[in-house]
């Protein structure tokens, strides 16, 4: 069965559900969101990712209506939503603290939003039951929030925010209060629910793994600006800046001087080391560049491999055994430390490399990314 690609952002005809148009938000002297424009499409699972204070929460609060932009427009379905108060927007939010009403039962928490609408009573009951089933907490309907576990509370919060079938659901660090194992399971469940309900999700997170797992597109933010908006794979494999590369996953960044010949770049980066050969995806100007390569793209061997353009020699400084992988820190003759990763695919194999071993690191000419500085 051919896979149908969900990429509305590549379709120039597609109408965005949300459009940020040169949105700026200032709090006094502090600019939280700085002249930011982005389109988010229907049924997307859009992640806002960045360190704390980068403006991602402010963006979400502007969508919910708790803040208004200082300048610029936010359009929902083609209409400017700034004059609409939060209680009139078909946008619901799941709060980081869950914000469950402690004096109401789980059932009444989920029914709270529906009771504020004009929905008839029997339909409210049916809808609440549907929500309870969706997040699998039927058993706890009559309990108060303090009488259920953190994971169950997270489900109640999700059910409550989905109950009114909003056009857009905002999730503010929804899983940050859960432990790691539960968080991973819940991530998949969240994707399932998003698919089932067809709702557009915007999630705010500082956890890059979470963003990569759940999102159709990830927006990496820093200092109130979007650094890169792309699919998780593109963000990981083709970061547009050293900042993005460094923020997502593990990376080696090598700076050097580039000279281009026939779309092949040679980077002179350290005395006594061979030049790095790379193929940039975009043409670059000669001069200072950053060469970015992920540790798992670097092979480690005792003999110098014959078939790879790039090979450097060094000694193993440190080994981090992660179970499925091992990360090797290799020190080159000039003092540079390069991280390389190898899968531990065989259980009983004795460790091929150990501390102080002389090894060769090698990679192909397409393994890394070359970026202008």
């Amino acid at each position: 069965m051919p896979e149908i690609l969900f990429e509305p952002w590549k379709d120039p005809e597609a109408k965005p559900l949300i459009r940020f148009q040169n949105v700026t938000k200032r709090f006094g002297d502090f600019t939280a969101v700085d002249d930011l424009s982005v389109d988010i499409y229907e049924k997307e699972f859009f992640a806002l990712l960045g360190p704390s204070g980068c403006g991602k929460t402010t963006m979400m609060r502007m969508l919910a209506g708790f803040e208004n932009p200082t300048s610029g427009k936010i359009m929902l379905d083609g209409k400017d939503i700034s004059p609409i108060p939060p209680n009139k927007r078909s946008v619901n939010m799941m709060f980081q603290s869950y914000a469950l009403f402690p004096h109401l039962t789980v059932y009444d928490n989920i029914a709270f939003g529906l009771k504020r609408s004009s929905m008839p009573k029997d339909q409210i009951d049916a809808r609440v039951m549907e929500m309870l089933r969706l997040v699998q907490i039927e058993k706890f309907a009559k309990r108060k929030p303090e009488q259920i576990s953190g994971g169950q509370r997270q489900r109640v919060a999700l059910a409550r925010s989905l109950a009114k079938a909003p056009k857009l659901l905002l999730l503010d660090e929804p899983l940050s209060a859960l432990d790691k194992k539960l968080r991973q399971d819940t991530q998949f469940e969240l994707m399932d629910i998003q698919e089932k309900t067809g709702t557009t999700f915007v999630i705010v997170t500082h956890d890059q793994e979470e963003a990569m797992t759940v999102a159709s597109r990830v927006a990496v933010m820093n200092f109130g600006k979007l650094v890169q908006v792309d699919t998780p794979a593109q963000i990981y494999e083709a970061p547009n800046s050293a900042y993005v590369a460094d923020f997502i996953g593990d990376v080696n960044i090598i700076e050097g001087n580039a000279t281009t010949r026939d779309n092949i770049v040679s980077i002179a980066w350290a005395e006594g080391q061979p030049e790095i050969i790379g193929t940039p995806s975009k043409p670059i100007t000669d001069g200072r560049v950053s060469f970015i390569i992920r540790p798992e793209k670097i092979a480690i061997s005792t003999e110098k491999p014959a078939d790879r353009q790039n090979a450097v020699q060094g000694t193993i400084l440190d080994i981090a055994y992660l179970g499925n992988l091992s990360t090797y820190h290799v020190k080159l003759a000039d003092g540079t430390i390069i991280k390389a990763q190898a899968a531990n695919s065989r259980r009983r194999a004795s460790r091929p490399f150990t501390w102080e071993d002389e090894v060769w690191l090698s990679w192909t000419d397409t393994a890394g990314v070359v970026l202008d500085n």
Binding site: A64, N87, F112, G113, R116, R160
Partner: protein
């Protein structure tokens, strides 16, 4: 281990037993006695030298005459009724004034809150009596309030406030408002702001969110504040006797007169016992209600 727990629990019980239950028994005993021209001014008294027989002799002389007397003379039940009325209305006014103050304090900028708190507590630094006396100076016909109102031309003749029930209400509300403000403030300050945002997000207007979230979640503080105002207001003696008129009926005043003017300790004892019963009934009802709710949750 068990002994330690027991001794810990024993502390409050011993306190209540020694300083509440035993004095209550003594008052109750006096209320069952008869007035006498002696020291102490009632009979019978317990003759310890006669031992068990003396105790039996004393008990045999007890009767409920004083309680019957309270039921027949309408001064008493009218005083009780009027006290309950004054206490209830004062509590309600305190709530009307105290809740907005507490709400404003809880929503004030963080750096202001200690100052506001201090301002609420500040009146306690002056003696209660002096504060009530100063109200006489404010509310009298030549008082500051009348002078001010006449100066701005709002009234031509001074208002008669002092020595009326109105002055009693003003006195009680002024004195007891901090007891309403503080517990409500304590619950409001703990209220998570994201709950109100969540309510708004789910379709509530600001006002609706206030009634559906803020008020129910500050219920504990409201109830505590109401009890803290209602209970002392019910038995209040100083305020009605200093600010009230001759027609201000409050049971505290009656109690004082029975005890000090008439030297009728047994009737005063009976008045006190009934006052306690009036207070115990709502407290027990409230406690039972709370317990039921707790059980329902389990």
């Amino acid at each position: 281990m068990n002994l330690r727990r027991l001794s810990l629990i024993a502390v409050p019980y011993l306190w209540l037993f020694g300083l509440f239950f035993v004095p209550f028994l003594i008052v109750f005993k006096i209320s069952l006695s008869d007035i006498a021209l002696s020291i102490p001014p009632y009979t019978p008294t317990l003759e310890l030298s006669e031992g068990w027989a003396g105790f039996k002799d004393m008990v045999s002389k007890f009767d409920f005459e004083n309680f019957e007397f309270l039921a027949t003379d309408d001064l008493y039940w009218k005083s009780y009724l009027s006290s309950v009325q004054i206490a209830l209305i004062s509590t309600f006014i305190c709530l009307l004034i105290g809740f907005p103050i507490a709400y404003g304090m809880a929503n004030a900028p963080k750096e202001w809150q200690p100052t506001l708190m201090l301002l609420v507590i500040l009146p306690f630094w002056t003696s209660f009596l002096i504060r009530v006396y100063s109200l006489i100076g404010l509310l009298g016909q030549e008082g500051l309030l009348n002078q001010f109102l006449m100066w701005i031309g709002l009234i031509n003749d001074p208002l008669i406030i002092l020595n009326t029930n109105l002055a009693v209400y003003i006195g009680i509300v002024y004195t007891y408002c901090p007891f309403m403000i503080l517990p409500i403030y304590a619950t409001l300050i703990k209220l998570d702001g994201s709950l109100l945002e969540a309510a708004e997000d789910l379709g509530c207007s600001r006002t609706e969110a206030f009634w559906r979230i803020t008020v129910p979640l500050s219920k504990a503080g409201i109830i505590a504040g109401c009890f803290l105002v209602f209970i002392p207001a019910l038995g209040e003696f100083v305020i009605p006797s200093l600010l009230g008129g001759s027609d201000t009926l409050m049971i505290g005043k009656v109690l004082y007169e029975e005890f000090f003017s008439n030297r009728d300790w047994p009737v005063a004892g009976a008045v006190a016992v009934i006052l306690l019963l009036i207070l115990i009934v709502p407290i027990v009802l409230y406690q039972r209600n709370e317990q039921k709710m707790m059980e329902a949750e389990q």
